[in-house]
């Protein structure tokens, strides 16, 4: 037995914390990561986190930008209950969200299915449908203001061809908000279409083939293959659309200034009027906080739905 070689296992002591080339790299890469995160987090803190905290603090003060800020506790929040314009703004915004979000999602999905076909010219159509989304809202709103004019506007003229006497859209308290909603749907469905397109193209073809072999109709294929596999995208689209819709502002400001009366005054427009036209920064901050709470609550509800309705593969 004199020739047996004993192989000693490598003990951890052989890998004592020496400054190896790999450890140094890791630490340096840690710094690199920090550097890359810095611009974004700096931007986030300066332009998002800090203003939100400041708004929260401001909501307990009364400040008109020029004279000093005076602490007034929860007076601003209590005032919300007796403010009829705030009530209208809240209802208008919920009305807007409840109508425009489902329509924008459904239309986006429908168009995505249409342009997903392997036909010629689809790239052209995809760009065209996305065009309204990437155009400035202000520019679109100005043009649509002309379209909505009661006698000479294009929309009423076209309706007239079918014998329908169109309403005085933007000055009619019943039709002003639908007018704004219509514009918003037209503007935003393109973005949803793009997202749904990506989702559709991520569904494996063999599933459709399997379904056809099992005798599924086109509608059944859509309902049982496409929709479930699209649910993560649908979830994302609904959440983003809802959050965005609660912040509707540009269209209301440019087309109607919140009128007639307060028919199209949305929460963000009201915040703008209270804060930047009437100079009550504290009250405006309180309204903004309420809006934040509402959007947060809606998003939480949607996340709850996600656990039950969204299937990930």
């Amino acid at each position: 037995m004199a020739d047996t070689t004993v192989i000693e296992p490598l003990t951890p002591s052989h890998h004592a914390p020496r400054r190896t080339r790999r450890g140094l790299n890791e630490r340096k890469e840690g710094w690199v990561a920090l550097f890359f995160l810095l611009p974004n987090s700096l931007g986030f803190f300066v332009f998002s986190a800090f203003p939100i905290i400041a708004a929260f603090v401001l909501s307990f003060y009364d400040w008109d930008l020029l004279l000093g800020a005076r602490f007034n506790g929860i007076t601003n929040y209590l005032q919300l209950f007796s403010d009829d314009v705030f009530r209208s703004a809240l209802l208008n915004t919920v009305y807007f969200v409840v109508v425009s979000v489902p329509l924008t999602v459904v239309i986006g999905l429908a168009v995505a299915v249409l342009v997903n076909q392997p036909l010629r010219g689809m790239a052209f159509f995809r760009s065209v449908f996305l065009l309204p989304y990437i155009t400035l809202t202000v520019a679109i709103a100005l043009v649509w203001k002309w379209l909505y004019l009661p006698d000479v506007g294009l929309i009423n003229q076209v309706l007239g061809v079918f014998g329908i006497h169109g309403p005085a859209w933007l000055t009619d308290p019943i039709w002003a908000m639908p007018g704004v909603i219509l514009l918003s749907i037209w503007k935003s469905f393109g973005y949803n279409m793009v997202l749904f397109l990506a989702g559709l193209q991520g569904i494996p073809q063999n599933l459709y083939e399997a379904a056809s072999i099992d005798g599924a109709t086109r509608w059944q294929r859509f309902r049982y293959v496409t929709l479930p596999l699209l649910s993560p995208v649908t979830f994302f689209v609904v959440v983003i659309s809802t959050i965005g819709s609660f912040q509707v502002f540009d269209q209301a400001l440019v087309m109607t200034q919140g009128g007639p009366g307060v028919a199209t005054t949305t929460l963000v427009l009201y915040i703008y009027q209270v804060g930047f036209q009437s100079y009550h920064m504290g009250y405006a901050s309180a309204i903004a906080l309420v809006l934040f709470a509402i959007v947060f609550a809606f998003t939480l509800i949607q996340f709850w739905f996600q656990r039950h309705l969204v299937t990930y593969e």
Binding site: N25, K28, E29, W31, V32, F35, F36, L38, P39, L42, G43, V46, D64, L65, L66, L67, V85, K145, L149, P150, D151, V152, A168, L170, T171, P173, L253, V254, M255, T256, Q257, G258, G259, P260, G261, V262, T265, Q273, F276, Q277, S278, Y279, H280
Partner: protein, 444 residues
Amino acid sequence: MVSEQGFSHFSRRSFLAGAAATVGAAALAACGGSGPASGNGNVTLRWAMWSASADERAVWADLANDVHKAYPNITVNLETASFNDYFDKLQTQIASGTQSDIVSMQSLRMPGFAARHAMQSLQPFIAKDPSVNPGDFFPSISDGLSFKKELYAFGYDVGPLLLYYNKDLFKAAGVDLPDPNKPMTWDDFRQRCIKLSRPDSQQYGYVIQPGLDSFVPWLWSGGGDYMDDGETTCTLDTTDSKASIQFMVDLILKDKAAAPITDLSNTQFQSERFFSGKVGMMIDGPWQFVNVRSNAKFDWDIAPVPAGKAGSVTWVAGSGFGLSNATKYPDEAWKALSVITSKASLDKVAKSGRGYPARQSSVPAFVNPGVKPEHVDTVLKILSGDIAKTRFFRTTTTWQETEVMLTQEFSPVFLGQRSVDDTVARVKPKFDDLLKKHQSIINQ
């Protein structure tokens, strides 16, 4: 090392990250706006003013140049914005300490801004330099630009609201032209509007801008008012006030003799309709002469506003220039101010038609034979009280908020969606509330 792996990878990445951060920081710093430059005795001042067209802007740019010619060490940089944006911007600029050295102010908004220390009193400067001759200005505009009896701005224009009319449209419809020396009665006005109107071709006798400002002459001529002299109570609920509102509502909706309001977010709604040549009359101030001259492709002239129960009563307001409370160069700014509000400058402003001059000595420069309006002397006759009564348009320190509230509450009335009684009943408590706040601010 410039190889593709290991440390050089890191150094290239970190260089890029560092460079990006530096550029970002520099961009942030640039966002803050440039402060006034100075050094070796040269001073650059900022002058903010509103302007609705390139023509208007040119008038002010010219005056800014004059400052440099008179004082070569002072350069005045002109910043313009649209009228509504100007005041929104001013408030935020004052809050962040970035307002211009020379501040333009409208008499309607002077109480609000002066009470909040946005501008400084000119009295100490006038005491040291009486050559600016403050007595040359029309008393009404000096009153309008004062706060607590001290002058805060020198006026550049003063204007009564007057009636503009489209002579071509009147002649085509066979309607008598308004008399430039005698205001017509409300009945007469209504009849002429009805005769001028052809709703099927969108032609109307009159157009009004939705909002309080254009409506006040009607309110006053009818014997009503929006608030009492003590500025404590809203008086829109008096019988006379309500009757005036009803008159206008009926003109638009029942008689269809005034243009229906089709655009609630356009501050130029009234002017645009008038310029289109399809409206017989509008009420606006002499500050529109320059715009009407370039945009109206028809023959036009002016007359006093129609006389109601209380006669022809119109409001007088104006604008001027003053010094910001926070200017770093008060003496240079004062010198610049004295140049741009001098008789020579106001002569130029008068000649261009941008405004009826606030200096009485510049009035002759306003009268240009051969240039419309033909009856420009009507303005002076109105201002002096010969053919109409004028009252200064008083506003409160909470006027911005009051205007927002009034616009919200009044648009349904002119659209026929709410009765006059209901509207006034809703407005009164809100207006009274705002007057209470106003009183607490001025009594601080």
